[in-house]
């Protein structure tokens, strides 16, 4: 009976961790998308996008820690690389800047989709 209670407690903990990680991921992505959107808007309106980008970079450091618990290293490396490129691309007013922001958004969505228990993600 003791074993059964411990096992049920473990299963409940696992379910809680799963639900919590997905909800944190959703909330984290929402904030990330918000920072990306602000940076994109400032850039398109020819305003100084540097403060928005700095906020985005700072937020990415926090979000990276959260993602590292659920995401494989290669995916995270790709996203970090994208974030690292952004300041230089913004300074040079490169057309790739917006593309990299889109890529970052896409990667973050992909990570969430892979963690959300959809039938397609499970199978």
């Amino acid at each position: 009976m003791k074993r059964l209670c411990i096992s049920i407690a473990i299963m409940l903990c696992v379910v809680f961790i799963c639900v919590y990680s997905v909800s944190r991921l959703k909330e984290g992505n929402r904030q990330l998308f918000d920072y990306i959107s602000r940076t994109r808007q400032a850039y398109l309106e020819n305003k100084d996008a540097a403060p928005a980008l700095e906020q985005l970079t700072e937020y990415w450091k926090k979000h990276y820690l959260l993602l590292s618990y659920t995401t494989t290293g290669s995916g995270l490396e790709q996203m970090s690389l994208t974030v690292a490129k952004l300041p230089r691309l913004m300074q040079s007013r490169s057309a790739e800047f917006l593309g990299e922001l889109d890529a970052l958004e896409h990667w973050a969505k992909l990570v969430y989709d892979n963690n959300y228990p959809r039938v397609s993600a499970i199978f």
């Binding site: 059964l4 096992s7 473990i10 903990c13 290669s74």
Partner: protein, 227 residues
């Protein structure tokens, strides 16, 4: 390198805790579901150690999920016989009254060699000596011999024997084993009395066993040997 080291240590602890949670039955005889769990655990545990790209939690979560699921399902299968049959199968009779059930052998994909090997391991070399042979859900064959070939028991000979518990380990390498004395209904005073007769102290004893009848076997440490 350190990451691999720490991960290996953590996963070792997780796996040992998981096996303990599954219980002692796991170590001796594997039911089909337990065999599956054991194979999966060993495979899953190696992934985060081998590949540091995989988050550690991706190894720990499935291990705990599988083990907990196994414990919960085995508890449920105790209560619901159909679930037990679905998970573990049922025992099958392969020899009845010395006759091999060839259809059953075929169904179980059991060869005559497998059967004879199992019988020989139980000191039976002639199928006709077997009254009943059953293939258990673990794959082990249990054999019940015909009366003429069974070992003679005290009951057969009308000899009255006394039922007694086997001897218990009381002192192990100079230290008293906790709970041993209670299980044979004796106390510390008895130990001291037995040791006093041999002019020994607890720390001088390499091994001491005791029986509920008060009989004891005492082996002191060898002189000059390691204590």
């Amino acid at each position: 390198m350190f990451i691999v080291f720490f991960r290996a240590v953590i996963l070792y602890v997780v796996i040992v805790a998981s096996m303990r949670l599954m219980g002692k039955r796991q170590l001796g005889e594997l039911q089909p579901s337990e065999l599956v769990i054991t194979l999966l655990l060993s495979n899953i545990a190696t992934l985060p150690v081998e590949n540091t790209e995989i988050p550690m939690i991706m190894g720990v979560i499935p291990i705990f999920t599988l083990v907990s699921l196994d414990v919960v399902l085995s508890h449920l299968s105790l209560k619901f016989r159909p679930l037990r049959r679905a998970m573990c199968g049922s025992a099958k009779i392969v020899i009845s009254n010395g006759q091999i059930d060839q259809k059953m052998m075929k169904d179980l994909r059991f060869s005559v060699d497998d059967l004879m090997q199992s019988l020989r391991s139980q000191q039976i070399f002639d199928v006709s000596q077997v009254q009943l042979a059953v293939v258990e859900t673990t794959g082990k064959i249990s054999v019940y011999e015909k009366a003429a070939y069974r070992s003679v028991t005290c009951e057969d000979m009308n000899i009255k024997g006394e039922d007694a518990d086997p001897p218990q380990l009381v002192i192990d390498s100079g230290k008293l084993v906790e709970g041993a004395l209670q299980s044979i209904g004796l106390d510390r005073e008895w130990v001291d009395k037995m040791l006093k007769q041999r002019h020994l102290k607890v720390k001088d004893v390499f091994l001491m066993t005791g029986e509920s009848s008060g009989k004891a076997v005492i082996i002191p440490f060898d002189k000059g040997g390691a204590k």
